[in-house]
């Protein structure tokens, strides 16, 4: 009997409970790179993110191949030559929000999340800043940051005509709702 209680306790303690979860489906992440010749931009509308309101843990995941570019040639080069989306299909961020957040109270606050940014198969520790707004139905999060390409071993070869900026700007917008398991 004691053992059974213990097991239940351990699992409750260890595993996140669905009630404490906020999820963002179809979140948008875009990036922008300004170059002397042409501006390069891509947009991914199928980003997913999940936030544990008890532990302040956050995870973001996206399929690299789902970035859409206005210029299809750039899209092909992005997948084939720079991000190598066949080899490294997923980009993600896992981290913990550093500030105390009262998810029961509506309002906006600036937060920082410390964790690992993983893209192109290279994980890099980053502290990202964003604006978290608690709403009735969940929360929204807007986040801006830059990614130096060298951080993630994304090579810019010498034999290309298109010039690519060494640091790209990334913008992300998530709207979270309460997590409901699809079962």
């Amino acid at each position: 009997m004691k053992l059974r209680l213990l097991i239940v306790f351990c699992f409750l303690f260890g595993k996140a409970i669905a009630q404490d979860m906020l999820i963002a489906r179809n979140a948008q992440v875009s990036f922008f790179s300004e170059t002397p010749l042409e501006n390069i931009s891509g947009l991914n509308k199928n980003v997913t993110a999940i936030l544990n309101t008890k532990s302040n843990d956050i995870a973001v995941k996206m399929q690299v191949a789902q970035f859409e570019f206005p210029n299809k040639l750039m899209q092909e080069h992005f997948n084939e030559n720079y991000l190598e989306s066949d080899k490294y299909p997923v980009a993600s961020f896992t981290g913990k929000i550093q500030e105390k957040v009262d998810f029961g109270k509506e309002g906006t606050q600036t937060i920082t999340a410390k964790g690992m940014l993983n893209m192109h198969g290279v994980a890099k520790e980053r502290t990202l800043t964003g604006k978290l707004t608690i709403t009735k139905t969940g929360a929204t999060l807007a986040c801006d940051f830059t990614v130096p390409l060298t951080d993630h071993k994304i090579e810019i070869p010498k034999l290309v005509f298109e010039k690519i900026a060494e640091v790209i700007t990334v913008k992300a917008n998530y709207s979270f709702v309460h997590f409901e398991s699809k079962k």
Partner: protein, 301 residues
Amino acid sequence: MKKLAIFLFLLSGLQVVSAQDDLLKMLDNESTGPLYATATFKSTRVINGQSVETIAKKHLDFRISHRFGALNSGFSNLWGLDESRIRIGLEYGLTDRLMIGAGRSSYQKTYDYFAKYKLLRQSNRWFEPVSIAVFAGAYTNTMPTSPDMKFYNNLERQMYVGQVLIARKFNDRVSLQLSPTFLHRNKTESQIDENDVFGTGIGGRFKLSKRTSFNAEYFYTVKKIGTAYVRDPQYKDCLSLGFDIETGGHVFQLHLSNSRGMIENQFIGATTGSWGKGDIFYGFNISRVFSFDKNAKKTHK
């Protein structure tokens, strides 16, 4: 009992440590929509033959192709480099799936016009294991009529091709394509060559690095239907080997082929060169894609 309790406690502790990864795993259950295979081939041609790729909407592909003389033509002809046949082509994407194109080959002064439509795009969903495109082309030979090839009317100058292109990108390096082909000539150069040619192309690429790939392509044609020979034995199957080099805006395709013609009726229907005898033609295609999409200048800023 105590040991077990400690073990369980430690286990729960471990779970806390990996809670963020648990979150990431929870996201694995969320669907993010289909993932389509990108760039099965670098260009709209494997080498001579069409690949399953089409030009994107409002993008224009300007193509210049050269085939030099035969490698076995000797020193006086600098092993073929003294002369070349060229094709200039303009190809345009009407939608992301439908492209049209036209070109002019100096070889037999032939104009070509074609349309290619992508029926199916390979994705990670089970019902889309391959990409499929259909290709239809027409060709007009504008050589002056001669004793070798007498044209009595303009209809005799016409040729038509239909192809189904089935390709699969197996991984980031290997793509293979099968191209069942039907070719009809209103008039053939050789009397014993039937007007209709059935065949299939097999082609593929192996990526050597991010920007270069090795390509190979073979077009088999049916020589005999039942007991009847349908092809003039002087015509050979076309084998081509080459490299694709991509430099950002351009794709260079460098290759060796036993066909001098660069369009379907020529390399599928009228290849006379033989690899064994050294009738090999060195050639290259240059493809430059321009975007005419006004929205392309816009950004997602």
